[in-house]
């Protein structure tokens, strides 16, 4: 059983539907007991960092997430969840969870992609450059594209970077260490390669 953290920030049901299509049992929950009893935790999110941090702290789920990590329970942050695992975000100048070192910065409109100024948000399908291997990407064609939608990007400490993506700048698309991963793109909306990532995460959770 996987727990999908419910903190009123967006796309929890998309993640649940994707897991169900794979035959993976999961529930959307804000109950600390259920979260800490799950085989693994998914921390999704869409929206603004300030508002999301407010929801997490007022519900006490920020502490639950820290306990998940200190108990070495597998955790997967997605999109906004990926961003607020770091220490700080330029979005609303927000201090975030600080579970891993790094910060989150804003795309600059004067940067270019394909010789033209970038449009913000970075919305659509982009490729990854793999910096180090991760079991999360096992069995996935390295040329696969993944679906992104975000206006801020993460800069974690370099030793955690798994894959980068280029749009105006080269930024981190996936980072973490075994058992604690964060993805800027949406695996639940990235077709087959994205679903494979969710399967790989679930397999890791079952073996952990």
């Amino acid at each position: 059983m996987l727990a999908i953290l419910d903190y009123k920030a967006g796309n929890q049901t998309s993640v649940l539907r994707a897991l169900r299509s794979l035959g993976i049992e999961a529930e959307i929950t804000a109950d600390p007991g259920a979260i800490l009893a799950a085989d693994g935790v998914i921390f999704p999110g869409v929206g603004a960092a300030g508002q999301a941090m407010g929801q997490l702290t007022s519900s006490g789920l920020d502490d639950v997430l820290r306990r998940v990590v200190s108990a070495e329970k597998p955790l997967l942050g997605i999109c906004l969840g990926c961003q607020i695992l770091l220490s700080h975000s330029e979005e609303n100048d927000t201090d975030t969870l600080g579970i891993l070192p790094g910060s989150c910065r804003m795309f600059q409109p004067e940067w270019t992609d394909g010789g033209r100024p970038i449009r913000i948000p970075h919305m659509g399908w982009n490729t990854l450059e793999h910096v180090r291997s991760s079991i999360l990407f096992e069995g996935i064609d390295p040329a696969s594209r993944f679906y992104f939608v975000h206006s801020y990007y993460t800069e974690p400490a370099p030793e955690y970077v798994i894959a980068t993506c280029t749009y105006g700048t080269t930024f981190t698309a996936a980072y973490g260490r075994p058992g604690l991963w964060a993805l800027q793109f949406h695996p639940e909306k990235s077709g087959r390669p994205g679903l494979r990532i969710l399967t790989n995460f679930h397999n890791y959770c079952r073996e952990a």
Partner: protein, 263 residues
């Protein structure tokens, strides 16, 4: 050497749904039913569509529930983003389709009548969830419409006296995350997208722009995302009748040097 384009240009099939059935407008004949929207969406997903748009053209209030059910079934069967338009005129309408599993909502006439609906949607769900669709018609340039393109509503029957480029900029300021520009003049002609209009709007905003209306052959898609500057191209007839598959169109675009996602 020019810098390569990393972000892929998107190809987005648009499905019109009436009373829960996929339908297609045929000139002078009204709408004909052409299939099951969930099966069709699933097929386009398997063929490599980057996103799917559903448009509810149901007239009656009662059929709205059927449409929401379609959205839920689609969300359990395709794992790419999809957006939903038609019949959305309040934050509550938006919430209903987003909860049913759509990533984005698309508003058109309702935004023209009540521009702050864009801001209310963006505040509630984030800009990335709010697409503003615009129906646009070419007119002689005037003080009211200096660009020579005017916003129309009700399928083009009602001119609004609003300049299309100025409206696009306003939509961005109000919090739209993306624009879908539909040329009433090009729609249904199969002669290609309205590239001048698309380019004017792409140059005026820095959010993604989807070109809509007029696709009849693969080169038209290439033109929309190169000369037109669009981030994505919407397609309907060109794929609905089996003339081209999504994969055919993607292969053509890739061959023309456009960055596309292939599966």
């Amino acid at each position: 050497m020019t810098e390569p384009c990393h972000l892929a240009k998107r190809l987005i099939p648009c499905l019109d749904v009436r009373n829960g059935i996929l339908t297609k407008g045929v000139r002078f004949e009204g709408n004909i039913d052409i299939g099951d929207p969930v099966e069709t969406a699933r097929r386009y997903y398997e063929e490599g569509a980057d996103e799917i748009v559903f448009y509810d053209i149901t007239a009656s209030h009662e059929a709205r529930g059927i449409f929401i059910d379609v959205v839920e079934r689609v969300a359990s069967n395709i794992f790419i983003p999809f957006s939903v338009g038609g019949g959305i005129s309040s934050v509550e309408d938006m919430r209903a389709v987003l909860l049913a599993g759509a990533e984005k909502i698309s508003i058109n006439s309702a935004a023209v009548k009540d521009p702050l609906l864009i801001s209310r949607g963006a505040d509630a769900f984030g800009s990335q969830a709010v697409v503003v669709g615009m129906d646009v018609k070419q007119v002689p340039a005037s003080d009211a419409c200096p660009s020579g393109y005017e916003v129309v509503i009700h399928g083009g029957r009602r001119p609004m006296g609003i300049d299309a480029v100025a409206w696009a900029v306003r939509c961005q300021e109000l919090g739209a995350g993306e624009l879908c520009i539909n040329s009433i003049d090009a729609d249904g002609t199969c002669d290609g997208y309205e590239l001048t209009l698309t380019r004017k709007i792409c140059d005026a905003v820095n959010i993604p722009v989807i070109a809509s209306g007029g696709a009849g052959k693969p080169q038209h898609l290439v033109d929309a995302v190169t000369d037109g500057g669009a981030s994505a191209a919407l397609v309907a007839s060109i794929v609905h009748y089996g003339q081209y598959s999504i994969a055919d169109l993607k292969a053509y675009m890739a061959g023309a040097g456009v960055a596309v996602r292939t599966i």
